[in-house]
């Protein structure tokens, strides 16, 4: 089969899974008395229909890309990092410390420093479970779950006792100085004379896209990436090939933690412009679904991020405009979507293959000759 053909089959499979999940979601909406077609229209309009909506969708996608990449990288080494939520939270601490205490620096130094700090704190929080997995064989799923709770405790403590804005009654830091925040896309484009709607989408989007490209290059074009994949495929074979699986696991967890730590650059430095309680808001968990839906494809990861971002953003208009739809219904639709697109694509693979089969039979001899 040619790459184009196999790619088109993949697209057809995902498309039919999407259609099926929206059909099931539509059924749910019909049961509660909402017009499914109208709901779908509002959802799409809410996500992509006007410039501000697109900005918000891109903002959500930015966080999901970082979180998805983190899970994806770890999975390639055969480890399941479900501690993204805690690592992102700690990344926020790293970013905030630089933004609060070094805001005298010029932005050209300050922003990269804060980004590095966010990545470093995220990596540090991931390194401990990684090291324990590598050297003590403690299962990383257990330790990362525990580290999510510990991160929550640590951050609540710090925000309530040390980082609290002076005189403030709520557990958050003082706002960052303007030069300590990620420039918004609308501000950047305004510099070159393009006016777009205000939205939280910021420079982090570019960072996320660069991160996707770098991660794929790393994984498929470098020796370290090759080692990671060998360890993920077969740790025993890796050892015979002279690769130390432990070192690879620690290294991969560092990269994974650094990537999800960058969620904080988008959220804390780009949008909230201060450190607040529970800012990751589940992005670490969405990352799991994004990574698993991405498969082997970088474009797949970006598209999966966009899909969840569109759902997060589009549902806002949906909830405001259709009173019978509440946030629970939105969660239900999300679950159905993940089930069909993430876990059930094979349900559609056979029918798609059968539909495309006659042409393949004709095409095959032609290709052979």
């Amino acid at each position: 089969m040619t790459p184009i053909r196999s790619a088109s089959i993949e697209v057809a499979v995902v498309a039919s899974a999407l259609v099926a999940s929206f059909a099931v979601a539509g059924l749910v909406l019909a049961v509660i008395g909402a017009d499914p077609i109208e709901a779908f229209r509002i959802l799409v309009y809410g996500a992509f229909g006007y410039p501000e909506a697109i900005g918000y969708t891109l903002y959500y996608a930015t966080s999901y890309m970082f979180a998805g990449l983190a899970v994806w990288v770890a999975l390639k080494a055969g480890i399941f990092n479900i501690g993204g939520e805690g690592q992102a939270y700690l990344g926020g601490l790293g970013a905030a410390l630089v933004c609060l205490f070094f805001d005298g620096l010029p932005p050209i130094l300050l922003l990269p420093l804060a980004m590095m700090s966010a990545a470093l704190f995220g990596a540090g929080w991931a390194a401990i479970p990684g090291w324990l997995q590598a050297r003590r064989q403690t299962h990383v799923v257990v330790t990362t779950i525990m580290f999510n709770f510990i991160a929550g405790a640590l951050m609540t403590y710090l925000l309530n006792n040390w980082l609290l804005a002076p005189g403030g009654g709520s557990p958050e830091t003082r706002p960052f100085a303007p030069q300590a925040t990620m420039p918004a896309l609308h501000d950047i484009l305004a510099l070159v004379g393009i006016n777009i709607a205000h939205s939280p989408a910021n420079l982090s989007l570019l960072v996320a896209l660069i991160a996707v490209a770098c991660t794929w290059t790393f994984m498929f074009r470098t020796v370290w990436g090759y080692e990671t994949r060998v360890v993920g495929a077969n740790p025993h074979a890796a050892r015979y090939a002279g690769i130390d699986p432990g070192a690879v696991i620690v290294r991969t967890m560092l990269i994974s933690g650094a990537l999800v730590g960058l969620v904080a650059v988008n959220e804390v430095m780009g949008v909230h412009k201060r450190l607040i309680l529970d800012f990751p808001a589940g992005a670490g968990f969405v990352g799991i679904a994004v990574a698993l839906m991405a498969g082997e494809s970088a474009i797949g990861l970006v598209l999966a991020s966009l899909l969840f971002a569109a759902l997060a953003q589009g549902s806002l208009d949906l909830v405001i405009d259709m009173p019978m739809i509440n946030r629970e219904i939105v969660r239900l639709i999300q679950g159905v979507l993940i089930l069909f697109c993430g876990a059930l694509p094979s349900l559609f693979r056979k029918p798609v293959l059968r539909l495309l089969a006659p042409r393949r039979e004709i095409a095959a001899p032609a290709g052979a000759s």
Binding site: M155, S170, P171, R327
Partner: protein, 332 residues
């Protein structure tokens, strides 16, 4: 048929919505992360809005925030749809209200539990510590063991206000009282974990506590159930929860957010809405304690008299209740 009718009605409403003018008065409310059924302040606000809707026959728009960034966005979308007044519930919405109020100077905003200084924002803060002081007194007077307990949702300034008031009140009524404190957790689940609440209550009962005040949203339900199962007393919070476990609910510390929401809607409608800060406590009857047929048998005339005396003293300023337990405010 009813479904068809309601969807037709919906379409009519939708068609009208963008064209909303001053003539269609549509208030709006944004609940914070807990959602409108959080058994806590969001739910009180929801009940206030619902009561107002039934009384005036005017529907309102609502939104339940699910991520921090949605706060600003929801406020903006509602303002853009021409909401006459947007009520934002919860301290976390303060910064978002500040930002959006600046973008929509013609729209009125009321924020509860936070202070925002802007010409079109009304900030309402409530003195939970004053109400908690009263229920602390009742707890100390009802306790036979000399030990009372507190179960908070999360160790954050808002909950510390409840704890501080409670501790001061208990000590005021009985200087020898011992107050045991537990916080449920540090993640959002801490507000929805009745099983944990029940265990924390049982742990406190095991140490001789016989009255517990819970300020922990849905987690509190577990505390009240554990008190009922053990034959001890519990104190509800925010709304009047005396009915939840009749006979073992000593009282509830009520925080009348429902009244504040209804007032914001009504005052915006009849033109008496004023920007600025409203600091509401016992004097404004915005916080207090609940006495009804469910807990009448538990409150002795002496207890009632003492609390009424203290209410008067707090209102007149003879007793000052501190918001925090720093610098020895909570020892007598």
């Amino acid at each position: 048929m009813r479904r068809l009718l309601s969807s037709v009605l919906m379409l009519v409403v939708l068609a009208l919505a963008p064209a909303a003018t001053a003539a269609d008065f549509i208030p709006a409310i944004v609940f914070d992360m807990g959602g409108k059924f959080d058994k806590s302040f969001n739910q009180m606000a929801y009940e206030g809005a619902e009561a107002w809707r039934k009384e005036n026959g005017i529907t309102y728009r609502e939104f339940e925030v699910t991520s921090p960034v949605q706060r600003e966005q929801a406020l903006r979308q509602l303002a853009r749809r021409g909401a006459a007044v947007v009520v934002a519930i919860g301290f976390s919405q303060g910064p978002a209200v500040a930002t959006v109020a600046k973008e929509f100077p013609a729209i009125k905003f009321t924020v509860i539990d936070a202070i925002v200084d802007a010409p079109n924002v009304q900030s309402v803060v409530m003195r939970e510590h004053e109400g908690s002081f009263l229920v602390g007194m009742l707890a100390a007077m009802a306790s036979k063991t000399g030990r009372v307990g507190f179960v908070g949702g999360m160790d954050i300034p808002l909950i510390r206000k409840f704890a501080a008031g409670y501790r001061q009140g208990a000590l005021y009524a009985n200087p020898k009282i011992e107050v045991l404190e537990n916080m449920t957790g540090t993640t959002p689940e801490a507000w929805n974990d009745p099983t944990r609440g029940a265990e924390l209550a049982k742990a406190q009962f095991g140490r001789g506590v016989d009255v517990i005040y819970a300020a922990a949203g849905g987690t509190g339900l577990g505390v009240y159930q554990a008190a009922k199962d053990a034959g001890k007393l519990a104190i509800g919070v925010d709304s009047n929860q005396n009915y939840v476990q009749p006979g073992t609910m000593l009282t509830s510390m009520v925080k009348r957010i429902d009244k504040v929401v209804a007032e914001a809607f009504s005052s915006a409608r009849n033109g008496t809405w004023q920007p600025g800060t409203r600091d509401l406590g016992l004097a404004a009857d915005a916080v207090g304690w609940a006495l009804d047929e469910y807990n009448r048998p538990l409150i002795t005339p002496a207890m009632e008299a003492a609390v009424q005396q203290a209410t008067g003293d707090i209102v007149s300023g003879r007793i000052t209740v501190s918001e925090t337990c720093g610098n020895s405010a909570c020892t007598h």
